[in-house]
Amino acid sequence: MGAVVSLDGLLDTRQVWKGRPVAPPRDVQPTGHAALDAALPDAGWPSGALTEVLLASAGSGELQLLWPSLARLTTGGERVVLVTPPYIPYAPAWQAAGVDLHWLSLVQANPADALWAAEQCLRSGSCAAVLCWPHQADDRALRRLQVAAETGQALAFACRPHFAALNPSPAALRIAIDSQPAQWRVLKCRGGRAPAAPIAAYRRG
């Protein structure tokens, strides 16, 4: 069988493309949920990148997913900004979840300015995490958020409705939250294959 070729020969003629070794993440941003951390390639949120959280409707589990990270960042003296949240963050509950309210800022803006405000916060480099609820976010707007997060090395979270999962997105991580059963599904994660099995969501109360 004359078709046997040595591997080195193939590599030398550059007919085989070798994936570059993945650079180890600079800083790990654990999600605070052990099962989720284990499933994600960076062992946490992708740092300096956009994460999309896909929800059936606002108020169905996004805070349980994000609260541990927000609590960790704010108690560490880093700023977290909520840009136009859909409801009023109920301060006693946020405090009970461990969030230091001193480091939590609320930005109110109309839908047109909300993306601008989120981008400014991300780009500034003085915010550790920015949560936004973009209405009608197109691919371009999300890409801007992604680039801004990279520039400012901040965690960007965009909460969007479930049907947005049908469209491609530049986000580094996409997580869908299901209510029944309560579970998280990783749809896309940069730097690894998305885990096929859903992860049981942590639910309090």
Partner: protein, 471 residues
């Protein structure tokens, strides 16, 4: 004491040129009565056209075309002198405007901070050039000598009375600030330089010339002191810029605005204060002035940031009429405290501090756009939180679960489509302020699996009101 004299030979012209966005275009300053307009100063490109200071306007118009005429405004020049004195006040506590178009600075006491002199001088020159003023700088051991040496020198530095004297004696007699008749008399006597004057017997000189001549010569050589009125910085900043034409768009206002704000920061740095609040007046020809108030949460003095903020406010504005003049008034000037930076900061690549970002957001989105949450000790859900600034004492959260999201107004729930998971929890409070509530709270789950927090008013058995989501 060492005195530096900064002579501004083209102060009026430079003041006009720095306000224009095309400073290389031919431009002349004119003055004099309407019947006989005279060119007061010309810029280099107008000079290249053959125009000279002192020509009449009609001569100039026959010689060349396409140059811009600007009326010479002594008040504006005076204002520029004040601004430059405020700038110089940053480098020395003794600044004098005794001579027109010249700044006198006592610099020996400043050398410890800004020195040595060559570095100090380079810094003065660099900042003056950035501000757009041509200048000559001379250092001498007394203020009069410094001023008079600036007539014939640039960059001269005489550190002791002997060096000053050595430089002075070579000066021509017409250039040392003597009265015109005295200088002419000296020239006619065949005396052309200062050392020839000093060679004359003192009593003969006193007999031939009036007393002020001897006084001036003594002051020049530092033999008699001279009392100078020192500049006192103003308590407020008020600058006005005439636009010369009607401006109808925001874009055209940005250049003059940037200049005003640069002048403001020069003033602030000189006084070592910050600005917390300033007002822009857009003056219209007919209508009433438009006021744009720019307020900050903390005192700032960084030009780029102040400009961005003012620009944000300006762009949100609808111009009702063309703008003739732009005025900037800053009266609230608290002490400036530079932010403390940490040496070993976790976020090394801080591009923009949070305070700046917050001002930026407020400038575009409104003063109330950026808020912080606080917990209040109250059992009523509506009153258990408030927006505000500052840190409150840590209030322990209730043991029972509370929703992360609160609805601004409770919504009525349909009779079916949910099931009650837990409850009731009675909250009865607020009798003291009239907003008292008596409610039974339930934890509910909707058909789609969302968990909510709903209440029923005690005594009203029917409707259930949704007030929050356990997200």
């Amino acid at each position: 004491m060492l005195w530096a004299c900064i002579l501004l030979p083209q102060l009026a012209l430079d003041g006009v040129l720095r306000g224009r966005d095309d400073p290389v275009a031919p431009l002349v300053l004119i003055s004099g009565p309407t019947q006989r307009r005279v060119l007061q100063a010309v810029n280099p490109s107008a000079h290249a056209l053959g125009l000279r200071a002192g020509q009449t306007l009609s001569t100039a118009q026959t010689l060349a075309q396409g140059f811009t005429c600007v009326e010479h405004d002594p008040a504006a020049t005076e204002h520029l002198q004040q601004l430059l004195a405020a700038w110089a006040y940053r480098f020395s506590s003794q600044v004098s405007l005794h001579y027109p178009r010249a700044l006198l600075l006592e610099v020996e006491s400043s050398l410890g901070l800004f020195g040595p002199w060559p570095a100090f001088e380079a810094r003065l020159r660099e900042e003056l050039t950035a501000l757009g003023f041509r200048h000559r700088i001379v250092l001498a051991s007394n203020p009069v000598a410094a001023r008079m040496l600036a007539n014939g020198h640039d960059g001269l530095a005489a550190f002791c009375p002997d060096q000053t004297r050595a430089a002075l004696v070579r000066m021509p007699i017409e250039r040392i600030g003597l009265a015109a008749d005295a200088a002419t008399a000296f020239v006619r006597m065949g005396v052309r330089t200062l050392d020839q004057v000093l060679a004359l017997p003192r009593d003969a000189l006193a007999r031939r010339f009036a007393a002020p001549v001897q006084l001036h010569l003594d002051r020049l050589l530092g033999l008699r002191p001279m009392a100078l009125a020192c500049y006192m910085p103003a308590d407020r900043f008020d600058a006005r810029l005439e636009l010369n034409f009607d401006v109808e768009s925001h874009q055209a206002l940005l250049f003059p605005l940037r200049r005003l704000i640069n002048d403001l920061t020069v003033f602030l740095v000189g006084r070592d204060v910050g600005v917390q609040r300033f007002t822009l007046y857009l003056e219209h020809a007919e209508a009433e002035d438009t006021r744009v108030v720019v307020g900050l949460l903390a005192a700032e003095r960084e030009a780029g940031m102040l400009f961005e903020l003012a620009r944000g406010r300006l762009e949100a504005l609808q111009l009702v009429a063309p703008v003739r003049n732009l005025r900037l008034l800053a009266e609230d000037l608290p002490r400036f405290v530079p932010p403390l930076g940490e040496l070993f900061e976790a976020r090394t690549q801080q591009h923009q501090p949070w305070e700046q970002l917050r001002e930026r957001l407020r400038a575009r989105l409104g003063d109330e756009a950026v808020r912080t949450l606080q917990v209040q000790a109250d059992h009523r859900p509506e009153c258990a939180w408030r927006l505000g600034e500052g840190r409150l004492a840590n209030i322990s959260a209730p043991a029972a679960p509370r929703p992360g999201w609160l609805l601004a107004t409770p919504q009525a729930l349909l009779a079916d489509g949910f099931q009650v998971l837990a409850g009731p929890e009675r909250i009865e409070s607020g009798w003291w302020d009239g907003d008292d509530i008596r409610r039974d709270y339930y934890l509910i789950e909707t058909a789609s699996g969302q968990r909510g927090w709903a209440y029923r008013n005690v005594g009203d058995s029917h409707s259930l009101w949704l007030q929050g989501w356990f997200a």
